[in-house]
Symmetry: C2
Subunit: 219 residues, 2 copies
DNA sequence: GAGGCTAATGTCAGCGACTGACAATTGACA
DNA sequence: TGTCAATTGTCAGTCGCTGACATTAGCCTC
């Protein structure tokens, strides 16, 4: 009703808000097209056209065709890193990682709903896992994230990442397991947030015993 | 000396041999160009021209620009898988993986020297690690390899990969650690085969204690 | 509220990766 | 030698992506 109450958060001027809106629109349009007709089958022109901007404009918002597919993931990751930093120093590293992940999954919904429906995000996740090109960049992004996580873990424990291999080793193992969980979930039938959260949790519970050794006895 | 002793392995006709030669030439040319002027700075046309074939022909040998960079890796991986299958059933999974890797590294030289000089392969490895696009596909390829490894491990232990998460979990952790080792090696000064072999070994030695828990005491 | 400043957008031309279609070449084999 | 099929070259076209330049549209000052 008011002539122009600029909602809650949005920074300042109309310019900012407009930019934000085009960006969000591009994301929504892209994800919808990707999930409906497939990533490879969608051209950047289509995405741009759906939002009624030029192709050139798309490329001013996203460096390439892939990036738009990960825009939401990026928010989730930021959430995870925040949570990890906030974990009490008393927790051992593996527990801290585990807790941070689970907390992040818990309030993922509210965080991203402002940009895209959660359900669309879940479908996107699956679509990424089944598109070779996107799997590749997803993995690369994850490995960059890993590096940052290793840094955080090292700091928690008061270690030097380059001198002591344990932070990187632990994080590598941890993230590897996370990835497998995500992949298995993507192939399964249930695409709810709850199901991936539980699968994650169960897989993390297996990491220690799996590495521990005698599989035949401790079944 | 002989008029045409077709070496040891090479299949049959001249046609086959010719194809093999063009393929090898393409690989060598590509790796040389990539390592000298950079991946992004090299065009497929340049590679084709260096071997004196058309661009179209290049794409009949390799599906895309990236694939040629991994042609040698592929041989190494095959070697690793063979070795893993051959490990005695008495070894526990982690030990089998560890041994297979180390054996593979040991006779890597003789295996690939027929296609490219080992030194070029090492430089390629580094070049891959420092080229975002290639890092991405490297990771994707690795994850496909992981799946196959998990299958092998599961068979060794008489398990079902889909029912029991432990094979995938272990392999994910293992491969994660391998990747970190490769990455760290790529950033270091020593690019010899020996150095990566030793780094690998040392990192693998850390995997159990790192996950085990109390980092502060067991230093 | 007119006018200048600058950020955002559109347009256009062009490169490089990749593909399908068709023609030309060249081993293979009777 | 001649036929058949595999390999290669040529050409045209699509799509991702970029630089350069013109155009539009918030923003800010007077």
């Amino acid at each position: 009703m008011a002539t122009s109450t600029p909602q809650t958060a949005p920074g300042g001027g109309l310019r900012e808000r407009k930019k934000q809106r085009t960006r969000d629109a591009l994301i929504r349009a892209a994800l919808e097209l990707f999930t409906e007709q497939g990533y490879e089958e969608t051209t950047v022109d289509e995405i741009a056209e759906a939002v009624d901007v030029s192709q050139r404009t798309y490329f001013r918002y996203f460096a390439n065709k892939e990036d738009v597919a990960f825009a939401v993931q990026e928010m989730v990751e930021a959430r995870f890193l925040d949570e990890l930093t906030a974990r009490p120093a008393s927790e051992d590293p593996l527990t801290a990682l585990r807790s941070a992940v689970l907390v992040a999954w818990d309030d993922i919904g509210s965080a991203i709903a402002s940009v895209v429906p959660v359900e669309l995000h879940m479908r996107t996740y699956r679509m990424i896992e089944s598109t070779p090109t996107l799997v590749a960049s997803h993995l690369r992004r994850s490995s960059e994230l890993e590096e940052r996580i290793a840094g955080l873990i090292a700091r928690r424990e008061g270690l030097d990442v380059d001198a002591d291999p344990r932070p990187r080793v632990l994080v590598a193992a941890f993230c590897g397991v996370m990835r497998v969980a995500g992949k298995v979930w993507g192939e399964g039938p249930d695409c709810s947030v709850e199901s991936i959260r539980e699968l994650t949790q169960s897989y993390l519970d297996h990491i220690q015993p799996a590495i521990g050794g005698d599989w035949r006895s401790a079944r």
